[in-house]
């Protein structure tokens, strides 16, 4: 299991477009993927779940990856968060 804290850096936050991109990346991997914000944890493979967090710029999220391909999965996803979902 890999756990990593990330910060939302883009101005618009984790809105619909990034949320949809996140679940599309997640769907390509077998491992389970959870995102939590202030103890509120959702399944990172569900777009409704990801959007429920309504994460704004500056908020801190914990990403959890658990499964056979967690290393590659975590690598791609963390980069995507650090790049501000390509919106910087």
């Amino acid at each position: 299991m890999i756990e990593k804290e990330v910060t939302i850096v883009n101005k618009a936050g984790m809105h619909t477009r990034p949320a949809s991109a996140i679940v599309k990346i997640a769907a390509r991997y077998k491992s389970d993927f959870y995102i939590s914000k202030n103890n509120f944890q959702v399944n990172g493979k569900s777009i409704i779940g990801v959007m429920t967090l309504a994460a704004e710029q500056g908020s801190k999220l914990t990403l959890t990856f658990d499964g056979p391909d967690e290393v590659w999965f975590a690598d791609e996803m963390i980069k995507f968060f650090e790049n501000g979902f390509g919106e910087l």
Partner: protein, 348 residues
């Protein structure tokens, strides 16, 4: 399901503000604000119990649970009226030197002299209700119990099927939302999809609802986001439901054994509440919706005292017992008994 539960953190509110408490409760429990000032935003309630400060008002402050909502019933009011002004002011000053969240006077009593002035001076909100103390305490306790209840957030779909709360869990993409949609189409009611918030109500009841952001929006893969309420109307939704059965969906696995009789009741503990747990194997072409409706109806039958698996078990035992007592046919021929021994003339 068990994997999911292992990773989940329990959430519990640490406090509610007095302002929030007042807004939620003023109409519900007939509470009126009688202090002249606005409620200070830093006033919070951190304890789910309430306190009647009779002894404190008489000057005994050892073990005074000042963090609880302070209820002034007939006794407290009458006592404050009877004692001398000097004692009253002395005791109330001491009382207000503790950081009490708020005071509620019950039974439509008027505030005794000096109480309102001192409450205003110390910035403690003062309320009043027309309900008598016991009844009011019951209402408030239930409200606070709910506010401070343990909660978890689960990934799943939650539907009311014939009045039974069925919570579907399973891997992402297995078809939980599609089953929910199919059920809605057949007249059942959606509570929440994808993100389900479960709270413990009392000690033995688990309640579920969606989130205020998502309400009855759901995602259908390939389609996108839809709003169930606007498509199917008011009869297709509800905001809260008791969770009665958890149905875990998984792809049919040849190496697994699945429940065949229904005699071995399986339960799962969520927030320490026992919930019936059914593992349902799915494969293409299997009509899950109908099976799910039968799960709900069978649960209802059991609730009203008819357990099909048990009834059948008894029937079989009785038959075996009869066979044992029966004289054996020396020719060793076993007869199969039809439901109807004699087909009369109904041949169509």
């Amino acid at each position: 399901m068990k994997d999911q539960l292992r990773n989940i953190k329990e959430i519990r509110k640490e406090f509610i503000t007095v302002d929030f408490f007042y807004k939620e409760c003023m109409n519900r429990f007939k509470i009126k604000k009688i202090s002249g000032k606005d409620i200070p935003s830093k006033k919070v309630i951190t304890d789910q119990d309430i306190h009647r400060p009779g002894l404190a008002l008489s000057g005994y402050f050892d073990l005074f649970t000042y963090k609880k909502i302070q209820i002034f019933g007939n006794t407290e009011i009458e006592y404050l009226r009877k004692i001398t002004r000097e004692d009253r002011i002395k005791n109330l000053n001491k009382f207000f030197s503790y950081d009490v969240p708020c005071i509620i006077i019950t039974d439509n009593n008027d505030a005794p002299p000096d109480l309102k002035e001192l409450a205003d001076k110390f910035n403690v909100p003062l309320f009043k209700t027309s309900y008598p103390t016991t009844k009011f305490s019951y209402f408030i306790s239930d409200f606070l119990d709910d506010q401070f209840s343990s909660q978890i957030v689960l990934h799943g779909s939650f539907v009311d099927v014939y009045g039974i709360g069925l919570l579907f869990s399973g891997k992402s993409g297995i078809g939980k939302s599609e089953i929910a949609l199919d059920l809605i189409e057949r007249g059942h009611r959606l509570v929440a999809d994808d993100v389900v918030v479960l709270s413990k109500k009392a000690e033995t009841v688990l309640m579920g609802s969606g989130t205020s952001l998502v309400e009855h929006f759901m995602e259908i893969r390939g389609l996108g986001i839809i709003d169930v309420k606007s498509i199917f109307g008011i009869r297709s939704i509800r905001y809260q439901k008791r969770v009665e059965v958890i149905v875990e969906l998984e792809l049919w696995d040849q190496n697994r054994t699945y429940e065949r009789t229904g005699l071995d009741h399986k339960n799962i503990k969520i927030l320490d509440v026992d919930i019936e747990f059914i593992k349902l194997p799915i494969f293409p072409g299997k009509n899950i919706t109908v099976i799910v409706e039968v799960i709900a109806l069978n649960y209802l039958c059991k609730h009203y005292g008819y357990n099909a698996a048990q009834v059948f078990k008894k029937k079989l035992s009785r038959k075996i017992h009869e066979n044992k007592l029966k004289e054996k046919d020396p020719r060793n021929i076993e007869q199969i008994n039809r439901t109807i021994e004699y087909f009369e003339h109904d041949f169509e």
